[in-house]
């Protein structure tokens, strides 16, 4: 049982559809003044590929003006789904409201999933910010924020197939990707 459960990641491949689905999932809550977020699942290799977007809405998902939080029950549901579709958690992405700094807050740093190579993305302006304005952070021994050059070097946006899911404490079901469904 001694092998590394977190193989190192050099860079990430993010399908454009993943970005669109992420924004579709969070923008409605943003309009209501709440933070919201999604999980990105994928294949963890030296080039990690995003393969599924998990829209987190409903029981066990707290969306509020200053805080987005997911209960352990929701993590459990997503864990079962990830096992079924043979993917792992690569990233969490959540919004900050208009006027709130587009950077990990102290709460984000403390409550985020802290395993090597995990991305923690902050989407500014309540989900209205374009992807080049997002804050990209990777956990090493603490969270490290990409500058523009590192983002360009380590994150590639490309075509690619993804699956879409909606999950909460009650379970996970396929999701159309439609905004505010």
């Amino acid at each position: 049982v001694g092998s590394n459960p977190y193989p190192p990641i050099d860079d990430w491949c993010v399908p454009s559809t993943a970005v669109a689905a992420t924004l579709a999932s969070v923008v409605g809550a943003g309009r209501r003044g709440n933070e919201a977020g999604v999980f990105w699942l994928g294949e963890r290799e030296s080039t990690a590929s995003v393969r599924a977007i998990i829209s987190l809405r409903g029981r066990g998902v707290l969306e509020s003006p200053g805080r987005w939080r997911v209960t352990s029950e929701v993590y459990g549901v997503v864990s079962h789904l990830a096992r079924e579709i043979d993917l792992v958690l690569l990233a969490t992405a959540h919004t900050h409201g208009a006027g709130v700094p587009v950077a990990l807050s102290r709460t984000d740093r403390e409550d985020g999933v802290r395993v090597p190579g995990l991305l923690a993305i902050v989407i500014g302006d309540a989900g209205q910010a374009t992807v080049d304005e997002w804050s990209w952070n990777v956990y090493v021994k603490e969270f490290h924020t990409f500058d523009a050059a590192e983002l360009a070097r380590r994150v590639t946006f490309a075509d690619g197939d993804i699956t879409l899911w909606r999950a909460n404490a009650e379970g996970a079901i396929p999701w159309s990707g439609a905004e505010d469904e």
């Binding site: 459960p5 209960t71 459990g76 079962h80 792992v88 958690l89 999933v113 802290r114 395993v115």
Partner: protein, 107 residues
Amino acid sequence: MSQVDTKQEDKTKAVKTTVDYLPATKPFKKDFAPEMTFQTVRTEAMAFFKVADFNDRDVHQFHLEASSQRVDYSQTLAAYLAAHGHGHQGAHKLDLTLVEQVTAGGV
């Protein structure tokens, strides 16, 4: 083999245990003696996944779930399997999930 012999074998046969953790590419797998408790499994799984309970402003704790239900850490694996019947996950096999719970206001 008599019924008594079969029951005695059930009590001594190792429990093939698998623990998944959402960000990890590999599960934790180990055969545990049936008299081991879930606390032992939790401790070893957390070491494998390199995670630990901690407090900051909140309380961060890792928990094991079986079939979406949190397990009782004082319970032995044998007692759990007996309580859930041989059809539950197989007589000597356990599939568990490690999840983190954050409770507000730790400090």
